[in-house]
Symmetry: C2
């Protein structure tokens, strides 16, 4: 078993690695469109298309990834859960806006160039991901930010919220990898993709970086010992759902994300506070 | 909270949906290569290439998915954990063999047609996935099937084993989607992919089915209440690691996959037995 101090160290290491992979991905996607491709513009041409990968990597992948792990940052554990929920929802909303603009850029480009829309598996899965992400956002806000939802519902739907969130994040990266594949095949003519020109290698590396970022975010999100202390969740649920049967809430909470026991997680809180003290 | 009976019903529903998505995917991939493409042969040509999608979908995706959830099947809970481990490892080994033959088919085809190997992001991530899957297999067998590994190690590495397994499974599906994208672009000439001929629509649907299969397997694998009763794991660990400090094992077990409490899961066992009785 890792000591609290080691646990914090491992978390910070994973966080730094994820942030680095994410930021280098952003640098790579900008260098791709600015150095290898036609740059950025909003003119119906290829430079407008280029907003698509830029907005997907910076918004739909990086911002979404950060939104997912924002509760895990130990220095936010003193903030109210409600404020963290607003930051989580706000980052996801921003990511959604980026994704929608990214799609508009492609439709604009396709229409101007008389290329059919929505024919590829990339477009099918990409549009589905954006629609389901919007639905997840609306349901998430309705369920966890508007105080009318019964606490027992909040607890009961939390595993689905977490699962959908992680699956959508993973799917978005998979769809991005398909998009990279399409663009390298269509965009490289002489030399072709199979001749491995510098752009092909460079963008392949971008794809590998996106997988690394995704893998690290999923690792951080699914470590129980790195969670925001769950007694605060319990407290917030009890507070918001004063009229609810608390034993039902507590019982439902024991089925919370990853099935972690809410009371057991209270121990994690104690451990974590200790590690904060040691770190300061 | 779902009653034990409802819980079992939900599990069976998810299992049927996953199996159906997987089997229909297999039918689709066979129809793709036998009806739309050149059929199957081992001749260095396109019919040899076609073994690649067939073996990936049947082996590296379907068999791997079943291997992941094999512990969740309630009718196996009376079997010894060791036997289930052998089935889990055996299915994964079979999936690995399928994946290796699938790769050989592509290399053969490329070499005969003078197409470069390993230039695409699909090939980079695919080869990496096969290598890491082989490593996971070797480490898994060494760690959990060979009785010399200390019980505390087994428990400590289990979260990594589970995470790696699920990430590899997800990555393999993502890589398959990239492969479908490549093959539809390269394989469809007149009409092209963008003209949406029947083959394009058909294979896009195959891609959607693979995502559904993956999503359902991940859902089944990550539901705590559908796990094989963990007191059996505890028992097996205690039995295998008789010389170990049991309190350490128990403590490590509380950090088991999804952080489920081993003793709490004992309750799940009782619930599950009940549901078995009710189901029979």
């Amino acid at each position: 078993m890792a000591t609290p101090m080691e646990n914090l160290k491992h978390f910070l290491l994973a966080l730094c690695a994820a942030t680095a992979a994410g930021l280098v991905s952003i640098i790579f996607v900008f260098r791709w469109v600015l150095y290898f491709k036609e740059g950025l513009a909003w003119d119906g041409g290829l430079a407008e298309f280029n907003w698509h990968p830029v907005l997907i990597v910076t918004g739909f992948i990086f911002l979404q990834g950060i939104a997912i792990i924002v509760y895990r940052l130990p220095w936010t554990w003193q903030c109210s859960k409600l404020m963290m929920k607003f930051i989580h929802a706000g980052l996801n909303l921003l990511a959604f806006v980026f994704a929608v603009i990214a799609m508009v850029a492609v439709f604009d480009f396709h229409n101007a160039a008389n290329i059919p829309n929505m024919y590829s598996l990339h477009s099918w899965l990409g549009l589905t991901a954006v629609i389901l992400y919007g639905l997840q956002l609306v349901l998430g806000v309705g369920m966890y930010l508007i105080p009318v939802t019964p606490a027992s519902w909040r607890a009961a739907f939390m595993p689905l919220h977490v699962y959908s969130g992680l699956l959508l994040f993973t799917s978005v990266i998979a769809v991005a990898l398909m998009g990279i594949t399409e663009k390298l095949i269509f965009g490289l003519k002489d030399p072709k993709y199979k001749d491995s020109p510098p752009e092909a290698i460079f963008v392949n590396v971008l794809g590998v970086l996106l997988v690394l970022f995704g893998g690290l975010i999923l690792w951080i999100a699914t470590r129980t010992s790195w969670k925001r202390p769950s007694d605060q969740i319990l407290h917030s649920l009890h507070t918001n759902g004063g009229g609810e049967d608390n034993s039902k809430v507590a019982s439902a909470l024991s089925q919370l994300p990853d099935g972690s026991d809410a009371y057991g997680a209270g121990d994690a809180r104690k451990r974590s506070n200790k590690s904060d003290e040691q770190a300061n």
